[in-house]
């Protein structure tokens, strides 16, 4: 199963992110990764949680604008040159990346995980010899 990411429109106002985290906490949703891209006025919050569909519905109910998209999670050796190696493979294959961010967890024993937003499918990554994680492996259990 592909890894689902939920993105949320964030107005640059005090307490916005705290509000979202509280909503998720009250719904017993566990965040696995979080990333924010922003301009001066607004931002996009990207989340990977254990329950993406529930996350989408609970945030929408709270009048937040959200969208759901698939991303690719790749295991990266947590050592010098680990990420460089992965990115070199991606560059070689000519895969274009819209954005990426890291996912931190103690569950990946000695590995880090990078999340990629790309137009390619996860299969392209796997075929290139990269270690792609499925939804269950990153902690999605919905």
């Amino acid at each position: 199963m592909e890894v689902r990411q939920i993105s949320v429109f964030l107005e640059n106002k005090a307490g916005q992110l705290a509000n979202i985290c509280r909503i998720l906490a009250d719904a017993q949703i566990d965040m696995k990764a979080l990333n924010i891209a922003e301009t001066a006025d607004y931002g996009v919050l990207r989340l990977i949680t254990d329950k993406p569909l529930k996350t989408l519905s609970v945030l929408t109910k709270n009048a937040l604008v959200c969208t759901c998209s698939d991303v690719v999670a790749v295991k990266v050796p947590d050592q010098p040159g680990g990420l460089a190696g992965v990115l070199e493979v991606i560059a070689e294959k000519g895969i274009s990346i819209e954005y990426m961010y890291s996912m931190l967890s103690s569950h990946f024993s000695g590995n880090a995980v990078m999340v990629f937003q790309t137009t390619e499918s996860s299969k392209v990554f796997a075929d290139a010899g990269l270690s792609v994680l499925d939804a269950g492996e990153v902690g999605i259990n919905e």
Binding site: L10, E11, Q16, Y42, V44, T60, V65, C66, S69, Q117
Partner: protein
Amino acid sequence: MGYYSKEIECASRSEIRRLQDSRLVEQVRYVWDNVPYYRHKMEEKGVKPEDIRSIDDICKLPFLKKDDLRDAYPDGLRGAPKKDIVRIHSTSGTTGKRVVAYYTREDLELWDTCVARALCAADITDEDIVQVCYGYGLFTGGLGLHGGAEKLGCMVLPMSSGSTDRQLQFMEDLQSTVLCCTPSYAAYLAETITEKGLRDRIHLRRGIFGAEAWSEDMRASIEASLGIKAHDIYGLTELSGPGVAYECSEQSGMHINEDHFYAEIIDPDTCESLPLGSKGELVITSLTKKGFPLLRYRTRDICILSAEKCSCGRTFVKMSRPMGRSDDMLIVKGVNVFPSQIETVLIQQGYAANYQIIVDRQNHSDTLDVLIEMTPENFSDNLGKITAQEKSLVAELKAMLGIYANVHLVAPKTIARSEGKAVRVIDKRKI
């Protein structure tokens, strides 16, 4: 397709003109005899009732402006003795001073007739269930639509404004077929109905939306989301209320009830009369009202009149939807800005018509900021796509207005939504 008063609504132009000629002569005499405030204005201009022999002489008469109505407050323009007055209505007015309009029993009768014509023109019959969510009370919207719908024989739900949940419950349980409210409230209801998934449980087929500016795009979006035909209706408290003009099945321009109201277009700066087809300020003369008989009232609404043949068969002149109000018009950096222009751009770009315009002055220069609510359709996890949309909004606004506007994308439902008239403009300049 029905008419409420077919004989007059489809009369020949010359018949309408003859009626207007005689009614104007009579009305000018009536006003001269009963409204000292206006007689004084006529005397100042050196005009006597005998100088007015037909509609062609109307240009000899002095104008009435909103300021006159305020000067004459509370009853300097009342035309009938209090014992003949059966109701008043009043405008809220943004500047504090109210305007009070008076109605005799006959005035209410003709107002109801005008509204009944509007409903018929929108294909509404006595079979319909009409939910009126305009405010009842001093505001003319509620009682105006109510009176017309009742006169036509519809089943009327006098809901008044507000309490959206209750509105939706009645709409569903009593199977309302016609919705009457402001276009912004209609858009809000449409949004709520979609959100709550009630679309299949409502039976609306027509909407009569007036009392504030709206655009063709807003019409299309309301029609699509509610599955109705949306008709515009025009009127001012000063002239009775909604029903001065109304849209027929063509939905392009509103037929003016010309047996009761005579319309002219003038240049708002020079006050010169402009020929048919010119864009300018709408001036209306009430030909029959007795309680509050206004002659040559400057509406401040900018529009165009057209006498082209209409496919509905009505011969009444049509007015375009007001393109802005000469007093709602903002002057920013010396440029005329109408909120409706901004609305048009937003809807074209797929945003909701819920927005707020903030005008301020910094370092002796005007600033224009537009707050726009993000929508699920326009949102993307890709920040670049959002900033590109923002840029295109700025560019489209610049193209429409001729000046630069700062665009601010905000979270949905953060712009205050009024269930009556929407507050679209905040002018912070101290001029």
